[in-house]
Symmetry: C4
Subunit: 229 residues, 4 copies
């Protein structure tokens, strides 16, 4: 298939930049809709002529849904930022990149469903596993795109980031699916979800950043990094 | 976290402008979806073979929903214009700005829910307080972004607006959350909402503009203002 | 208010073009969402284990909804094209233009509701009047924007279109609300809608174009038109 | 109509590029919303206090819906890529192109409904025929746009692609509606759908690509192709 994909890759040579921008803006539109659709899963409580006490009870019952909404909002936001970061370097594209990006968007579009499913049954195993699996697959596709884009052989990027940037970016990109995969496995082994475990993300990220910092401060800065930073 | 955020802030130096544009256009897409989703909370009245009189009664019953819709439409429009105004000066970005913007978008995405909740129970305290709280938080994050962007230390803006512009812009940006916070407090103290109070926004804005005009006309125009206007 | 609006109109002088583009792309996003939301008002018929005959009956019952959907789709498409045409000349903006545009978007956002309401009760007067009123207001705001933008006093446009363009554009822009207003009035007077009347739009447009063509061919082409075409 | 369409085609000569970009970005927004709306047709299963077994049964029952979702996601993605490819050459536009594009968008907007209808009744003839008919019409309009854009008489494209590109692109563009039309006809003749037939798309595409490759390798490469590739 390689050959024909390359063949159909043609476009007006003056439009190259716009073709990439269009891919990016289409992606952004999908992200924007997915992140906003999260809210339509939270329905206004029904019934009329309630007193203040009943309204407060309503809101308290909705807390799990709000937690799910907030979490999914920031998961999507984190991956938008990751995509924003990656495509800040992209100056060319291939048929393969477009379809990896589509696969990535597929996992983004699935989020409003996964999030609603997880929020609806917050203490139950299967919805929790489903949600975590969605995030894991999204993160793995994201990692795959990073490897593909920053592989010099693919000629996607003209101005390469520093080795340190790439190292930290990739480590973070793999740490997240690893973390969610652990959550998922623990839930399957023990037959119960532990959403509390999500709070471990911040200390994990902190350790990872410290480790990365120490490692690079230990060894002398190489030439191309000095110019890139 | 400062150091690594800066590290991951890299991108192709020729893409700086597009990276900012992308942040803005993603924001616009979220705004556009949130403002349009307001309408799907207004359901078509059910039942068939109604006569003209029954249709008019239906529409009359929907007036509170239309008022809520119109109000939320213009609240979101006002904040879009504010964002449009702020980012008309932004020529650089930081990790912090991106995440403040995400927090702002979070409050925008919440609006269709708050609006529907408030419209559904228009004369009840808790939904009224919830709606006002949403607007107050949105306005405060907006104010925070203004302070951050126009703080020369952050190097976000290259062409600074006149001092008078900044003064009026900030005063207006703080007046709105203050106003909604008063509405909210009055509702909590008296245990009942007074939506009628919203009509006081226009006279308040008028007084504020007059006050600002007089203040700046009193003192002589300083050098950089003369050039900026 | 004139004075402070002007004051807050500042932005980075190098960003003028992007500020206008942003206004336009925000508008396009709202148009795109409104036009796509039309479809979610058409629900999949319920019930299972139907035979082919029952499915055909289902689809036949949905014909009025599809007619409403097609009509509203092309009404929105026509106004998108009108906006596209107008803003093909806009090289500057004012606070007033932004808010006229917002008012226009308000009527666009209302369309999915009006359309669903009209489709649900296709042979009843009030929904028909409501729908026509929505289109009339949208068209009037559109006409107002055209007058405002192409008024040289407002300095919105640098390259003015030919007089003939403006004349035809305005005539068409006023013919549509006039037509829908007639539909609306007839429905109110006779107490019943006549959707069949919509088919008169094409002959009306044809007559209008012929009339315009003849008028301009009769009189000699003036200088600035010759250059503009 | 030719003459007046041309007349109203005017815009600021410096804005030509942006007018085309706007048409494209509006199209992208509609695509993005249609592709994301597919997910809201998949509802979270209802009921509480289910055990793990019941959740698994729920998910198994949703498999047909997920298959429909995945299929429609990639159908829309394929047509987005086709549009992306076509408009990578477009440097001018006509009134006719805009309205052909609108007709194309109409078929895209219809997809969330067709997809939900087909997923809801996966083994029944009429919904299957409806879905296939939607894809066939979308593909035919797409083919019509390709013919129109790459017809040198219409002056839409300044940098023409190689003859080989055009040949393969058109062959693929006609193969898909032909394929779906066969699916549709078989379903109507036998009075039952055979969704399994969709798996024949890949071998068909493979044969088509092989055939195309051989044909062009057989004959010597003509001059303008050598430069274009």
């Amino acid at each position: 298939m390689k050959e024909h994909d390359h063949l159909l890759d043609q476009h007006d040579p003056e439009r190259r930049d716009f073709q990439i921008e269009r891919l990016i803006l289409f992606t952004d539109a999908v992200f924007a809709i997915a992140i906003t659709l999260l809210i339509i899963e939270i329905k206004v409580p029904e019934g009329h002529h309630k007193n203040t006490h009943q309204h407060i009870v309503d809101l308290l019952h909705m807390i799990p849904k709000f937690i799910g909404f907030i979490m999914s909002f920031f998961v999507i936001a984190i991956y938008w930022r990751s995509h924003h970061r990656i495509f800040g370097f992209v100056t060319s594209f291939t048929e393969k990149l477009i379809w990896m990006n589509m696969l990535f968007l597929f996992t983004v579009v699935l989020m409003p469903f996964s999030s609603a499913y997880f929020s609806e049954y917050q203490m139950e195993t299967i919805p929790y596993v489903f949600y975590n699996a969605n995030v894991v697959i999204m993160a793995l596709v994201n990692y795959r795109i990073i490897s593909y884009v920053f592989n010099p052989a693919n000629k996607i990027v003209t101005h390469m980031p520093s080795a340190r940037f790439l190292h930290l970016f990739k480590m973070r990109a793999i740490a997240i699916p690893a973390f969610f995969f652990c959550c998922l496995s623990i839930a399957l082994i023990f037959g119960a979800p532990f959403p509390i475990i999500y709070f471990l993300i911040w200390p994990m990220m902190y350790v990872l950043n410290r480790y990365n910092k120490r490692k690079f401060e230990a060894k002398p800065v190489v030439a191309n990094e000095a110019t890139a930073e």
